[in-house]
Symmetry: C2
Subunit: 324 residues, 2 copies
C-alpha cells in the first residue's frame, strides 16, 4: 500500500536520511507499521539503511518492479497499469484473462519468471529469473488481418531499443526473432482474440534474455541463444531498458493506429537479416528453400525460387543459410 | 610537365616561400621557364604569391584537377591514371574510346563540363561547370548479365560517400538515381561492351551536382534536381569528395570481383527509397503501377500488384508516389 510513497520519499532524498517521524506523519502510519513496510522493501531487494537519523535508500534492486518502471516513465498510456508477478505460468495467459475482464489498452503484465512461457508454434520459452517477461494488452480498432503487423512493429521497437540503449548491432529474423549476430536474444508472441464484431483485443508478449545465463538453457536451445549480459559482459539495468522500450513501442503503435505504418515497415526491412539471405521455411512438414528478396506491406515474405519464380510465404519457421 | 613537381614542392612548404633557385636547380629549369610554369598554374586558379623570397602557395582552386585528386589518393588502382578535360562531349564517350585503345582498369576520365552529357534512355544530362563529371573504365572478368550490378554498386558507393562526407540523408531510387529528399543529386550511366568472348569493358559514368546552380537548369529538370551546394548552403570541395568516392568504389568493386556482392546489395536495399513506395514504372510506352516490395540479387525490382500478384521489373523509368 504505502510502498510507493515510501520509495518516492526515499528516492527524492537519496543523499540523506529521511526521518521516521516525517514518514509516519506524512503517510499516517504508526512507527511499527512503517518499520514493517521498510522490512518488506528490504525483502524485495532494496538496500535501506536504518539509523537514529531515519531511513536512507542505498541501492535499488535490479528487478523490473512496477514502482521502478513507472517512476520517470515517459509514455502516455502504455504501462500506466502494471500487474507484476514473481512467478506466473505465462504473462500472455494472464494478459488474456485480464483483457477478457476489461483491462484497458496499455496494461502490462510482468513476471520475474514463467513456469510455462510460450514461444511460437506451441514451443516452450525458457523464462528464468533475470529476463524481461512481459505482455502488453492492446485494443486497436483494426481489421483482424492487420494483427500480424503488431508483431513486426514490436520487433522494430525492441530492436531500436537495444540498438540505442545497448549500442548493439541487432537484426530481425523474419518474422519476429531479434538476433545479435546469429543468436536469438528476444522473441515476440502475438495472440489476438476476434469475434464476429472484429478484433476484440491483442496481447503482445515480449521475452528478452537480459541477465540470463544461457548456459542453463536446455542443450537444444543453448547454441542459438544469447543474452544481453553475455554480449555486453555486464549486468544490464532492466528498468531503464523496459522504460525505453515502452516509449518506443508507444510511438510506433500510435503511428500504426494513425495509419502510418510505412516507415515502421521500412525500418523493419532495414533491420532484417532475412532479406538477402538464402532461407529455408518450414510449415506443416513441408520445406521451401529460396532467396529472401522482400517483404510485402502485410509482412508476407517473398522468396525467389531457383527457377526465378517468386513465392509468397505468409508464415512458417525460417532458417538462414550463409553465403551468396 | 613540371606542374606536378612544382605543386608538390609548394604543397610541402605551405607556410613558407620556396626559393626560385631551389625550384630551378631541382627541376632543371631556367628562371624564365619556371616563371612560365608558375603563370600556367595561376591561370588554372592556383593563388601563388611571388616575392623576392620565392613562391608560396596561398590557395588551391576548387577544381577537380588530376594532380589534386592523386595527391593523398588512398586507392590501389582506381584513379591512378586520370584523363582530364576542361570540356568534352561526354566522359563516357571518351572513356569508351580510351578503353578500346587499351586503357587499363581504373582509368578515370574527368571533365569540367560536358557538351552532351548523357543520362539513361538517351536523355541529356546537364553538365555545367561546378559538377563532378567522371567516368571509370573497368575490365571485370564477369558474365555480361552481371554488368547491371555495377550500377547498383556505384550507387551505393556514391550514397555512402555523400552520407559520410556531407552528413546528408541520401536515398537511392531504383535503379540508379541518388536523391536528397525527393530531388536528384546524382545519376549513374553504365555502358558495357561485350563480344562473343564475353564482357570486354564497362564504363561507369557518374554525374554529381556538386557546386551547380540548379536554377540554371531547363525548367522541366529544375524541380526534380538539387545540388550539394544548395543542400549544404556552402561550396563543397570536389577533390576530397572524389577521393573518398574512389576509395569507397574500389572497396566495393574489389568485393564484387571476389564474389562478395550480398552486403553491397543489402546496403542498396537499406538506402533504397523505392522499396516500400507505391511506384509507377514506364517502359516502351506501357505503365505498370504497384507496391515496390523488394529487389532480387540481380537488381530486378519486385512489385506487388493490386491483385496481390508479384511482378519482376528488369528495367524502366520509375516514379514514386506518396502515401501508404
Amino acid at each position: 500500500m504505502h510502498e510507493k510513497q515510501i520509495l518516492k520519499a526515499l528516492h527524492e532524498h537519496k543523499d540523506e536520511h529521511v526521518s521516521g517521524d516525517h514518514l509516519t506523519s506524512q503517510l499516517g502510519l504508526s512507527t511499527a507499521q512503517l518499520s514493517q513496510e521498510i522490512e518488506k522493501l528490504q525483502e524485495e531487494g532494496y538496500h535501506i539503511d536504518s539509523s537514529p537519523l531515519g531511513y536512507r535508500l542505498l541501492k535499488t534492486p535490479n528487478r523490473i518492479l512496477p514502482y521502478e518502471i513507472q517512476r520517470n516513465l515517459a509514455t502516455e498510456y502504455i504501462g500506466h497499469e502494471i500487474h507484476h508477478y514473481s512467478e506466473v505460468d505465462s504473462t500472455n495467459n494472464v494478459a488474456k484473462e485480464l483483457a477478457e475482464k476489461g483491462s484497458p489498452e496499455g496494461t502490462i503484465i510482468t513476471a520475474e519468471s514463467q513456469r510455462s512461457g510460450k514461444g511460437r508454434r506451441g514451443k516452450k520459452w525458457i523464462s528464468p529469473h533475470g529476463g524481461v517477461w512481459m505482455t502488453i494488452i492492446l485494443r486497436p480498432d483494426i481489421p483482424t488481418s492487420q494483427a500480424p503487423l503488431l508483431t513486426l512493429l514490436t520487433g522494430v521497437a525492441v530492436a531500436e531499443t537495444l540498438k540505442r540503449e545497448c549500442n548493439l548491432d541487432v537484426g530481425i529474423k523474419w518474422p519476429n526473432d531479434i538476433l545479435i549476430g546469429d543468436k536469438k536474444v528476444c522473441g515476440i508472441l502475438t495472440e489476438a482474440s476476434a469475434s464476429k464484431r472484429g478484433l476484440d483485443y491483442v496481447v503482445v508478449g515480449i521475452g528478452i534474455d537480459l541477465n540470463v545465463n544461457v548456459d542453463d538453457f536446455p542443450p537444444e536451445l543453448r547454441e542459438g541463444a544469447t543474452s544481453l549480459q553475455r554480449e555486453l559482459e555486464k549486468e544490464i539495468s532492466g528498468v531503464k531498458l523496459v522504460q525505453n522500450f515502452l516509449l518506443n513501442f508507444e510511438n510506433f503503435y500510435n503511428d500504426f493506429k494513425n495509419g502510418q505504418f510505412q516507415h515502421i515497415l521500412n525500418q523493419w526491412r532495414r533491420l532484417s537479416t532475412t532479406i538477402g539471405s538464402t532461407v529455408e521455411v518450414q510449415k506443416r512438414g513441408r520445406t521451401v528453400r529460396g532467396e529472401a528478396v522482400g517483404i510485402t506491406k502485410e509482412g508476407v515474405l517473398i522468396l525467389e525460387m531457383p527457377d526465378g519464380s517468386l513465392r509468397k510465404i505468409i508464415s512458417g519457421e525460417c532458417t538462414h543459410f550463409k553465403g551468396e
